[in-house]
C-alpha cells in the first residue's frame, strides 16, 4: 500500500510548507536575535501567537510570510519591553554558543556562523528582518514589504544600508 500524497492536495502542501518552514523560521529568528536560545524562545512564542490569531491567515496565501511577520512583530515587542537590554542578551548568547562550539565535529562552520551573527548583531534591529527576507529567503521587495507591512521604499533603503554595512563588517577579511 503506497502512501503518496495527492499531487494537488492543498493540505498536503500545507503540511509540507509547515514542516519545511520550521528550520527557516528558526534561521530567521536567529538573524533577529543572534542567540540560539533566544531565537528558539522567539519561534515558540510566535507559534503560540499564531495559534491565537488563526483568523488572520488566509488559506491559500503564503504561510511563511505570515509566520515571518508574526515573528518579526513579536521580536519588536520584546525589544521594546526589554529596552536597552538587547546588547546584554547578545553577549550572553555568544558566550554560550562559543562554549558549546568546542568539540563539535564542524567547529569551523559554527565559527563562520558566529562571525556572521556577530556582524548582523551590529546592524540596527529594523534592518535585520528585511535583509533576512530578501537576501536569505529570496523574497521580492514587494513580498517583503507586504509581509512586514512597510512601504517598499523603506524595504529598499533599509536593505541597502544593511548590505553596505554587512560588507564592511565581513567583506574585508575574505
Amino acid at each position: 500500500m503506497t502512501r503518496v500524497p495527492a499531487i494537488h492536495d492543498p493540505d498536503a502542501d500545507l503540511q509540507r510548507d509547515l514542516v519545511a518552514l520550521m528550520p527557516r523560521l528558526r534561521r530567521f529568528a536567529r538573524v533577529l536575535t543572534g542567540g540560539r536560545d533566544e531565537a528558539d524562545d522567539l519561534v515558540q512564542a510566535a507559534l503560540e501567537r499564531a495559534l491565537t490569531r488563526l483568523d488572520q491567515w488566509q488559506p491559500g496565501t503564503r504561510l511563511d510570510s505570515w509566520m515571518f511577520r508574526i515573528t518579526q512583530n513579536l521580536w519588536i515587542d520584546w525589544l521594546r519591553s526589554h529596552e536597552g537590554r538587547e546588547d546584554r542578551f547578545v553577549e550572553l548568547d555568544e558566550a554560550i554558543d562559543l562554549a558549546g562550539a568546542d568539540g563539535r565535529r564542524d567547529t569551523e562552520a559554527r565559527l563562520e556562523l558566529q562571525r556572521v551573527l556577530d556582524a548582523i548583531s551590529r546592524l540596527p534591529p529594523e534592518q535585520r528582518a528585511v535583509m533576512a527576507m530578501v537576501s536569505v529567503e529570496s523574497y521580492s521587495y514587494r513580498e517583503a514589504a507586504e509581509a512586514l507591512d512597510i512601504p517598499i521604499g523603506t524595504v529598499m533603503s533599509r536593505l541597502a544600508r544593511a548590505r553596505v554595512r554587512l560588507n564592511e563588517l565581513l567583506g574585508g577579511a575574505r
Binding site: D9, A12, R16, P23, R27, E112, L113, M131, A160
Partner: protein, 296 residues
C-alpha cells in the same frame, strides 16, 4: 541622465528592475569599473550570509515541535471548517466496489494530511528509533500498551468503568479533525478522531490519533487506533498502533516530508480488514453524532 545610485544598483543585483532601467544600469556598468565593484557588494550579500544555513541542521527543540504540531492541527481544522465542500466531494464513493479506494482517497484530503503529518513528519513521529506495537487491544488502552509494550489481541470496551473516558468522549462527540485535549499534572493528552466509517454490516467505526506528552518531558507518545461501536452502544477498541518517540529529528532535516512507514501500512490493512465500509461525509458524521451513533 541621473547617476546610478545604490538603490538602483541593488535592485539590479536583485533582479527587481524593469527592462528599461536594467538596460540603463548595464550600459553604465559597461563603462564604469567602480560601479562594477559596487555591484559586487550587493550581489555578494547572499553568499556572505550563507553560513546562516548551518542553523538549518540544528535539531528542533521539543517545545517547538509541539507548537508546530498544534499549529498544523489548528490550521487544518480551520481550513476544513471554511471549505466543507471539498471534503464532501471526496466523501461518498459512487460505486460500491470503490469503497476501499475511496476511503483512501478521502484519507488523502485534510484528515489524511493531518495523520500523515502526525505520523510522517521527519521532525515528529518518524524518528528513526521509533518502534511500533500492533494489535487489537485486550487489556485496553494506550497507557496500558505503553507500559507493558506487549501487543495483545481482542477488543476492549472504551467506555466501561475504569475505561478510557476521554477517548470515549472523543469518539462519541468530537467531529473528525478536531482535537479533544486534556492537560493535567502528568502532562497533556490530545485525542483527534480522523475518520468515521459505516461498515457493511451497519456498525460505526472511527479512526483516531492519541498524542500524549509528559509534563516537563520531551517525550511524546502517539498512537493510532480504530474503535467500533458494539450492539450495546459501547465503543470497542479494535486496533491500536503505538509509537514511542525519542524526541529528536534523527538527522532528517534536508528533505522535508517523508510520509510512509511499515507500521502505518499495517494499520491501514488492519482497518480495511476489520472495518470494511464507506467513510462518512461530514454531514453524515454530524448527523450520527447528533443521534448518538444510534443505527436506527
Amino acid at each position: 541622465m541621473t547617476p546610478i545610485d545604490d538603490l538602483m544598483l541593488m535592485a539590479y543585483a536583485d533582479g527587481e528592475l524593469d527592462p528599461a532601467d536594467r538596460q540603463r544600469v548595464e550600459a553604465a556598468l559597461a563603462r564604469d569599473s567602480a560601479l562594477r565593484e559596487r555591484l559586487a557588494l550587493f550581489a555578494g550579500t547572499s553568499a556572505l550570509l550563507s553560513p546562516l544555513d548551518e542553523t538549518l541542521s540544528e535539531p528542533l527543540p521539543p517545545a517547538i515541535e509541539r507548537g508546530h504540531e498544534a499549529l498544523a492541527a489548528a490550521l487544518l481544522q480551520r481550513a476544513r471548517a471554511e471549505d466543507p465542500q471539498q471534503l464532501r466531494d471526496t466523501g461518498r464513493p459512487a460505486v460500491r466496489d470503490e469503497a476501499a479506494s475511496a476511503r483512501r482517497e478521502r484519507g488523502s484530503g485534510r484528515l489524511r494530511a493531518l495523520r500523515d503529518w502526525l505520523f510522517g513528519s521527519p521532525y515528529g513521529f518518524a524518528a528513526a528509533a521509533a518502534s511500533f506495537v500492533i494489535g487489537g487491544l485486550l487489556g485496553l488502552l494506550a497507557p496500558a500498551i505503553w507500559q507493558s509494550g506487549a501487543p495483545t489481541r481482542g477488543s476492549a470496551t472504551v467506555a466501561s468503568a475504569g475505561g478510557d473516558e476521554l477517548l470515549a468522549r472523543a469518539l462519541a462527540t468530537v467531529p473528525s479533525g478536531t482535537a479533544l485535549t486534556q492537560t493535567g499534572d502528568s502532562g497533556r493528552r490530545s485525542l483527534t478522531p480522523l475518520l468515521s466509517i459505516r461498515t457493511a454490516d451497519g456498525r460505526y467505526c472511527r479512526e483516531f490519533v492519541d498524542v500524549q506528552t509528559g509534563a516537563g518531558s520531551p517525550t511524546t507518545r502517539s498512537a493510532r487506533g480504530l474503535a467500533c461501536r458494539d450492539d450495546r452502544g459501547n465503543w470497542q477498541l479494535r486496533v491500536l498502533v503505538a509509537q514511542d518517540e525519542a524526541g529528536g529529528p534523527a538527522g532528517a532535516n534536508d528533505d522535508a516530508y517523508q510520509p510512509a512507514s511499515g507500521g502505518l501500512a499495517e494499520f491501514d490493512a488492519l482497518v480495511e480488514q476489520l472495518a470494511p465500509g464507506d467513510p462518512l461525509t461530514d454531514a453524515e458524521e454530524a448527523e450520527a453524532i447528533d443521534r448518538g451513533w444510534q443505527t436506527d
